[in-house]
């Protein structure tokens, strides 16, 4: 995934380009994360000032939503669906396998910085379950061997 290093000037540009929208906080946070891979603490007062909000309000929004990261992710992000339809199709065993093989739990990044493993609750691929997402790519009908191939790709 392409990410720029944190740059306050660039962040200020992104924020300024979106303040005209109605209720723009989430739109801005998404745009910052799209650019930098995460929303660092330094961004919070910038967003707050641009939108005439308190810093606490921005922090509250940022930490409410699971999508927003406050630390940079690994080079790849692997999301595995943990919801019922994927459970019915053997998802729990795959979840245990991925934690085991990568040596990290859900929500963590491998020590070498290669992969961030995240849970997701439904990708809408429930008729081709179990499902996962590697960066922007969707994958269905996962089994142990397809999962191993995905992990190998992510660890490169």
């Amino acid at each position: 995934m392409h990410q720029e290093p944190w740059d306050p000037t660039r962040a200020a540009e992104i924020i300024a380009g979106l303040t005209h929208k109605e209720g723009p906080t989430l739109v801005i946070l998404h745009a910052l994360q799209e650019a930098f891979g995460h929303v660092p603490e330094a961004a919070e007062p910038m967003v707050a000032q641009a939108l005439n909000l308190s810093r606490a309000e921005v922090h509250g929004v940022l930490t409410f939503y699971p999508d927003f990261r406050r630390e940079p992710p690994g080079r790849h992000v692997l999301k595995l669906c943990r919801a019922e339809a994927c459970q019915a199709a053997g998802g729990d065993a795959l979840a245990a396998r991925v934690e085991n093989r990568l040596g990290v739990g859900f929500g963590a990044t491998t020590a070498d910085g290669a992969v961030t493993l995240e849970p997701t609750y439904c990708l809408g691929l429930c008729a081709t379950a179990p499902a996962a997402m590697l960066d922007d790519r969707v994958i269905g009908r996962l089994d142990a061997s397809r999962l191993d191939a995905l992990m190998a790709e992510a660890q490169q």
Partner: protein
Amino acid sequence: MSVRIFVPRDSGSLAVGADEVAAELNRVAHERDVALDLVRPGSRGLYWLEPMLEVETPAGRVAFGPTTVADVASILDAILSDGPHPLKLGLTEQIPWLKRQTRLTFVRCGIVDPRSIDDYRAHGGYKGLERALKLSSDAIIDDVVKSGLRGRGGAGFPTGTKWRTVAQAGRGQKYICCNADEGDSGTFADRMLMEGDPFMVIEGMTIAGIAVGATKGYIYIRSEYPHAVVAMNAAIEAARRTGYLGDNICHSTDSFDIEVRVGAGAYICGEETSMLESLEGKRGTVRAKPPLPAHKGLFGRPTVINNVLTFSAVPYILDGGAQAYADCGMGRSRGTKPIQLAGNVKHGGLFEVAFGITLGELIDDIGGGTLSGRPVRAVQVGGPLGAYFPRALFDTPFDYEAFAARSGMVGHGGVVVFDDTVDMAKQARFAMEFCAIESCGKCTPCRIGSTRGAETVDKIIAGDKPAANIAVLEDLCNTMKFGSLCALGGLAPIPVLSALTHFPEDFGLAPRRLQAAE
């Protein structure tokens, strides 16, 4: 002469290799000097056959599937020579699974090119809007009322009544919000429509805008659906370019525009008031009702909030279909319901049918039982907050009231099939755990009750005073049901109690006689 071939771009198809099949098709066609007209529609919804490739013939489209990259060359040979192929399924429209359906909402999905507004119009698109532009606000709403359409998001509130309330809420800024935060596991109908027939969603929202006097619409799509976001944005751009969105739609005096907003991974934002908070840029916490969003919704203004499927049913109804729509269904559940078969099911996918079909027909007959080949033990209908039903309840017809009478719910129409390896105590625990993860935290019964519930299920599973702890769990469920601010805490007890009622042996209890059915 060129060959017109369709390979879906639906994310369910992409997840099983549709892009690779399309790339190989381009490569082989180029190698053989075949003029290929490759179209990327949505999915027909027969997911066990995806990637399903179709070719246009004088008799209609002929399907092949499930295809892999290795099959592409031989399929192209079979197409060019009109010969046999092991993956040839015959005319798509004649596949029994598709032929048995009543497709009113999904009539174009998988057929049209979702990037082409001309294709949409060539297949009957925008006729509903064109008629609506000639009608008064009252006449549009009368049609929606007459159709009997109820909210397809899950709650089943009469759509016409909601629109009338917003229409009568005075002048000034009003909003149309399309709830595309389809978070329920086992559901994907909204995603399919946005990816496969996005103009229909736009048309439905536009008609709603004209009916109630709103000029601005938002569609709130969950971030887990990146392909739907791309498809909707592309369609909105195309609609603006051709005068179907923006000022003076189709040279009329009505104006309407739509903006896509993307969620950020919070399940609760599918709850309508939480979605409004999120659209306003705030934490997605639930609002107390009243005031209803129809009176004070987005930014405090009167707002129509409907699900993707609800808006998508509207173009057909406005194109003279109100009576035909009302003629489908049973009881107070009128029209068709796009049902999604998912999980451990042999023939999973999108099955749109008139209300009234039984759960057993869906699971055994249409779904073909489990994919694993083991017996079906439980099905969860209506998402993470829906009931788990055993085979004894498979005679339940798909109807809002019939499911409610058995302590279940139709919800958004997701049906997740489990085989006999499922541990229902574990599923009950997950329901509480999910509620704890996704609770917005505003009300105590949901925020605390869900965590205490998961702990109590753990104690029951561990054999720690099971009778006493089941009494605690039942009491806790009642507190959540009656004391929670919204449906998350209010309905989370449904899967828990249904698992306990119908599968007591999984909790270490003696099987008891079925009570919920009576």
